[in-house]
């Protein structure tokens, strides 16, 4: 195992960790808008880290240039997709969850 393989494994492990965190965030966070945070940021970083690891492992070939192309594409489109979804939800009338509304109530949740 060379040094590049070790760097690749470290990067891919970090990416897998962030992917797991993003998925747990989708379960734990209280409403749609907070979940969009988990999807829009953490998943993008996880994908970038894993693909960077694969690029380090692959070395400088045509394939790693294609992998870089995927990174650029996803970094551009993932926030745009999240924005499209939140915008649609806002126009639909879904209201965010606020901490201050929960003072007297027992049950939190993404209700309107």
């Amino acid at each position: 195992m060379g040094i590049s393989s070790i760097i690749a494994v470290i990067l891919i492990s970090l990416g897998t960790f962030f992917m797991a965190v993003g998925s747990i965030g989708l379960i734990r966070l209280p409403d749609f808008y907070s979940r969009a945070h988990a999807q829009g940021k953490v998943d993008t970083l996880a994908l970038i880290l894993i693909i960077l690891g694969l690029m380090v492992y692959e070395g400088f070939t045509l394939n790693s240039v294609k992998l870089l192309l995927i990174v650029v594409f996803v970094a551009l489109t993932n926030p745009t997709g999240t924005n499209a979804l939140t915008n649609a939800a806002y126009r639909f009338g879904l209201r965010p969850w606020f901490k201050r509304d929960q003072r007297g109530q027992k049950k939190p949740g993404g209700r309107k």
Binding site: G25, L29, D31, Y33, H37, K41, P79, T82, T86, W97
Partner: protein
């Protein structure tokens, strides 16, 4: 206007051709000829689409700004710096969300922030919208002309926008010394405020 259209058509063809050469690993005459035919076909299909303007007011606005000599070209070195800076911001943002998700008490306090910006052109606004989604604790919900509606996850996370550091970075992509970029901010913290 006519000349810009031609230049853009040629640029589009070159871009498509580079994309083809990148994706196909074969560099013999037959495959490159096929690439030329495909790129020409896509460019021809796009010609009519590009003459059609979906947002007429937007285009008029852009033209008006062009005549008043607003800066429209990116500064390349600044853009490279911005990409590196943005990647660092993404790392910070993910660590912040990871902390919020993994700590048992979940220290989140969402709020909506409405603010107006004074950015030089439309692509700057698009860059700012995408960057807000990627930087710590904030996502863009709505973008209407100059007005942004932003959802902030934690109490501290909106501060990067309110003190104007992120919009300032975006404005600095186009001009050296931008003035005050952010104004008219409103913060919503409960359903009664909406």
């Amino acid at each position: 206007m006519k000349r810009a259209f031609t230049v853009h058509t040629v640029l589009q063809f070159i871009f498509l051709m580079v994309f083809w050469l990148l994706l196909s690993g074969h560099y013999d005459l037959f495959h490159i000829l096929m690439g030329v035919v495909s790129a020409l076909l896509v460019t021809a299909m796009n010609l009519r689409l590009r003459r059609f303007h979906f947002y007429r007011e937007e285009i008029q606005q852009v033209e008006a700004r062009l005549k008043r000599q607003f800066p429209v070209t990116l500064r390349p070195l600044r853009f490279l710096y911005y990409i590196v800076w943005l990647f660092w911001q993404i790392v910070v943002a993910s660590l912040q969300v990871a902390y919020a998700v993994l700590s048992p008490r979940m220290p989140i306090d969402p709020s909506l922030v409405i603010f107006k910006t004074r950015l030089p052109n439309t692509s700057a606004r698009v860059i700012l919208g995408n960057s807000i989604t990627l930087t710590p604790g904030t996502i863009t919900v709505q973008l209407r002309d100059d007005e942004f509606l932003v959802h902030a996850l934690m109490d501290v996370s909106a501060s990067g926008i309110l003190d104007g550091s992120l919009p300032g970075q975006v404005a600095r992509l186009y001009e050296k010394t931008p003035g005050q970029v952010v104004g008219n901010t409103t913060i919503i913290r409960s359903k009664r405020d909406m």
